[in-house]
């Protein structure tokens, strides 16, 4: 059990590091704002996809539309028209009327009438704009109607994100040392007062506003997907009311002709504003399904802001909220980790993994969507899907790569085996056959002898048959040396000893003269850093070195093979006392491969004469475990 755990840890240590690096890269991208746009876009899409809610009948919008402007043949509408509209509305007893129309200067005729209405009605809220930006005509200062007292004024400034869309609603702002309230807050305040619910400061944070039991959580610069956003004033995320017709909208003409039911107005909030494209009062948003793709009218925007607070207090409709930063990063980490885990679990089948990664990415998105839909929780969906996808996909890709590498090596193995089998057939059964044929031609064929030779031939052919049969079950973790396979997952000492043992049993002329072998295979040689392919190459190196003795070291009587670690150096050395390197052509095969291997291991390959005679062939490389293994 413990061994299993240790092994698993080792696998994770090697395999999971890139995955964890990916997670932290995504963290970094998120922290510097690289994912802000995507997260906000995702939020818009999620909000838009939700199924429609019923019309919020606590709010009536009187929208002055294109038709109304044509009828009046004048814009802005005169003070008299507005005064008449307010008086008509008041006759139906609304709770409060918000006038989202600029009235900083008199619009004759009728300014006296409007002033009179304003000074008589305590439930009329006028508007102002308190922010200004000389570079942007849409952010300009607008004074409030001078006859209204301060508590009947609300500002209508709208905050835009960098992409030009609005997702936040301002509640209050400090301007010139004066605390200002927004139009929606003024409306909410008056409306809820009739239900005996008041606005106060949250007990745990005096800056946060609390309405009834509902806290209006402030947006801070890092809220949700936002990175260092402009978080001035007291602002909340806007959970737009869903559906194409979230509010009842009537026109000025409808009002004049009495096409409005009294019940739509009595005890309701009325918002008067512009719903005509020719007068620019609109807000960009992709979070709402509207008749006008990509934007809604300013008056609608304020209606959304009012509606979300009242519905939260009276109907328990969720407001948008977010987790703490730490929890969000943990959430992203968890999905990234799942990606790694899946890759580890399904590391045998890249296709299955790709499928599962795709499905779980969809699952993350779905979970995020449902949490937003049901509880108003805004989670970093893009970052989560990204880490899961990258990790899964990255590992999938590396697996495909490994698969292909394995195939390549298997192919090489096959070629090696075919060569080996061909030479075995040539050296043994064909030699036996030749012998029999020679005897047959000379007509001196003795029956006993023939039977004996045929038996030998039978044995030899059988052996080759077995070899071919075994060849069909080769996998990527073993190597053919001589007549049998060596498992590359054994300890390196064992692997190398088997290579030696298998190779020395082969039929090479000089092996026959060896009287004894000195071999020191010690556990100190470590293969912990080596890949399967490097181990494979080491095996081939040792095999080649020993075969070279068999082929070229004429007169050898003593073979010494050493595989050990000394002074932090791993070393494989084959030493013979044969005829030695007397000419270049007999220097033996595999020199190029040996040099390549040495380069790859950042080690050294040498082949040099031994005193008094013979050859030494030596490969050494660092046995340091490397910094990574010190963790």
């Amino acid at each position: 059990m413990w061994q299993k755990v240790t092994k698993e840890i080792a696998v994770w240590r090697a395999g999971a590091m890139p995955g964890i690096a990916v997670i932290f890269l995504v963290f970094l991208a998120r922290a510097i704002g690289g994912l802000e746009f995507l997260e906000l876009t995702a939020l818009d899409s999620f909000l838009r996809w939700r199924s429609p809610e019923p019309v919020d009948d606590k709010i009536l919008i009187v929208g002055i539309n294109e038709q109304d402007i044509n009828n009046l043949a004048k814009y802005p509408i005169s003070d008299r028209e507005l005064a008449n509209l307010i008086t008509t509305l008041e006759s139906y007893n609304p709770v409060v009327i918000g006038i989202d129309l600029v009235r900083d200067k008199p619009q004759e005729p009728g300014s006296a009438e409007l002033e009179k209405v304003f000074s008589q009605q305590k439930n009329v809220i006028g508007v102002e704009k308190v922010l200004s930006n000389p570079n942007n005509s849409r952010i300009n200062l607008i004074k409030s109607p001078h006859v209204l007292p301060a508590e009947q004024i609300g500002f209508v400034d709208i905050l835009l994100d960098q992409d030009g869309n609005s997702r936040r609603s301002l509640l209050t702002m400090v301007n010139n040392n004066e605390l200002k309230f927004s139009l929606p807050i003024r409306l909410v305040e008056q409306y809820l007062a009739t239900k005996n619910i008041s606005l106060k400061n949250a007990p745990d944070d005096p800056e946060t506003m609390q309405v009834g039991q509902v806290e209006l959580t402030r947006v801070n610069p890092q809220t949700g997907g936002y990175i260092r956003t402009n978080a001035e004033g007291n602002q909340v995320l806007l959970n737009f009311r869903r559906g194409e017709n979230p509010f009842r909208i009537v026109s000025l003409e409808d009002m004049k002709q009495g096409k409005v039911q009294p019940a739509w107005i009595k005890d309701r909030i009325v918002l008067i504003g512009i719903t005509a494209l020719s007068v620019r009062d609109d807000v960009n948003t992709n979070a709402v399904r509207s008749n006008n793709t990509g934007f809604i009218y300013g008056v609608e925007f304020h209606a959304h802001a009012v509606s979300q607070i009242i519905s939260a207090v009276l109907d328990d409709r969720p407001l948008l909220w977010i987790w703490h930063d730490g929890a969000e990063y943990l959430w992203i980490f968890a999905w990234g980790f799942l990606g790694i885990g899946l890759a580890r679990l399904l590391n045998e089948s890249p296709w299955k993994l790709a499928m599962v990664i795709f499905l779980s990415s969809v699952l993350v998105a779905l979970v995020c969507y449902l949490l937003l839909l049901e509880y108003g929780l805004w989670l970093p969906v893009v970052s989560s899907v990204l880490v899961l996808f990258l990790n899964g996909l990255g590992l999938t890709a590396s697996m495909f790569y490994r698969d292909r590498q394995n195939l390549k090596f298997q192919l090489k193995e096959r070629q090696y085996m075919i060569k080996y089998m061909a030479s075995t057939i040539h050296n043994r059964p064909i030699q036996t056959l030749k012998k029999i044929l020679r005897e047959a031609y000379s007509k001196e064929l003795a029956e006993d002898w023939l039977i004996k030779e045929l038996n030998i031939l039978n044995e030899e052919l059988r052996e080759i048959g077995n070899l071919i049969e075994k060849e069909t079950i080769i996998d990527g973790n073993s190597i053919h040396i001589g007549k049998s396979e060596v498992d590359l997952q054994c300890p390196l000492t064992e692997i190398l000893y088997q290579v030696y043992s298998n190779t020395i049993r082969l039929d090479y002329p000089n092996f026959k003269t060896i009287k004894f072998k000195i071999n020191n295979f010690e556990d100190s040689i470590n293969g912990i850093k080596l890949t399967v392919e490097q181990k494979r190459s080491l095996c081939r190196f040792l095999e080649e070195a020993i075969i070279n003795v068999g082929k070229y070291a004429e007169g050898v009587t003593r073979l010494k093979v050493v595989c050990l670690q000394k002074d932090q150096q791993n070393m494989i050395r084959v030493e013979d006392n044969g005829i030695g390197l007397d000419s270049n052509k007999n220097s033996g095969g595999g020199t190029k491969q040996a040099n390549d291997l040495a380069k790859q291991l950042r080690g050294e390959f040498k082949r040099y004469p031994r005193e008094p005679k013979g050859t030494i062939c030596e490969l050494s490389w660092s046995g340091n475990k490397g910094w990574f293994w010190h963790f």
Binding site: P491, K517, I518, N519
Partner: protein
């Protein structure tokens, strides 16, 4: 020291009831008061050995299952031997096997093992196994021919032959010269004798036999 009737403590590992009983009965016939515990899987064997680490010798099959119900395989037995030799480097071992070639890969570790290590051919009569058991208890090494390719020696063993036969040093002096324990020198001797295929026979002097063999082959001049 009381050398009479010292109880021999043995762990016998085999997955077949018949074989394990045969082995145990044979052992009792020679060591009547032996203390024998049995294990049928490598997992059980490892647990029992760790609970009773005072065993004098472990007699084990090579083809074993890891857990009850698993298929017995030589790889599993190899793995067990590898772990035992690592943790108990001086424990005496007897491996029962029909085909000892699977043990080749353990050669480097067997060469380092300080306890006795003998291989008993399963197809041989049971008294052969008892001989191997006796040898193992004496710290002797015996590995069959098919585990070797001719004469294979470690460099240190070769040095030992030189010091013993050409310089005529005693074990004690050899130990000093090679900076190893005297016990290790004795261990080397049995490894050399295994390599040279010199095994205890009733009327022969082992050291002389060893020297004769070594000179014949040309290990020493």
């Amino acid at each position: 020291m009381n050398t009479i009737n010292k109880v021999t403590k043995i762990l016998v590992i085999d997955d077949h009831d018949a074989v394990i009983n045969g082995t145990v009965n044979a052992i009792y016939s020679k060591y009547a008061d032996a203390n024998i515990i049995k294990a049928k899987t490598t997992e059980e064997a490892w647990e029992k050995l760790n609970s009773f680490p005072d065993r004098d010798v472990v007699v084990t099959d090579l083809s074993l299952p890891e857990k009850p119900g698993n298929k017995p395989q030589p790889e599993t037995g190899i793995k067990l031997l590898r772990t035992i030799m690592k943790k108990y480097p001086s424990l005496n071992l007897v491996v029962q096997s029909a085909d000892a070639r699977a043990l080749i890969r353990l050669r480097p570790q067997i060469n380092e093992h300080e306890g006795g290590f003998t291989v008993a051919d399963k197809s041989e009569p049971i008294d052969q196994m008892l001989t191997k058991l006796e040898w193992s208890l004496q710290g002797i090494n015996f590995t069959p021919k098919e585990m070797r390719t001719g004469l294979e020696l470690k460099e240190e063993w070769n040095d030992l032959l030189e010091l013993a036969f050409n310089k005529s040093l005693t074990d004690k002096e050899i130990a000093k010269k090679m900076s190893i324990a005297e016990r290790t020198v004795r261990n080397y001797w049995t490894k050399i004798q295994d390599a040279l295929e010199v095994y205890p026979e009733d009327d022969k002097n082992l050291r002389l036999q060893t020297e004769k063999q070594a000179r014949e082959i040309g290990l020493i001049d």
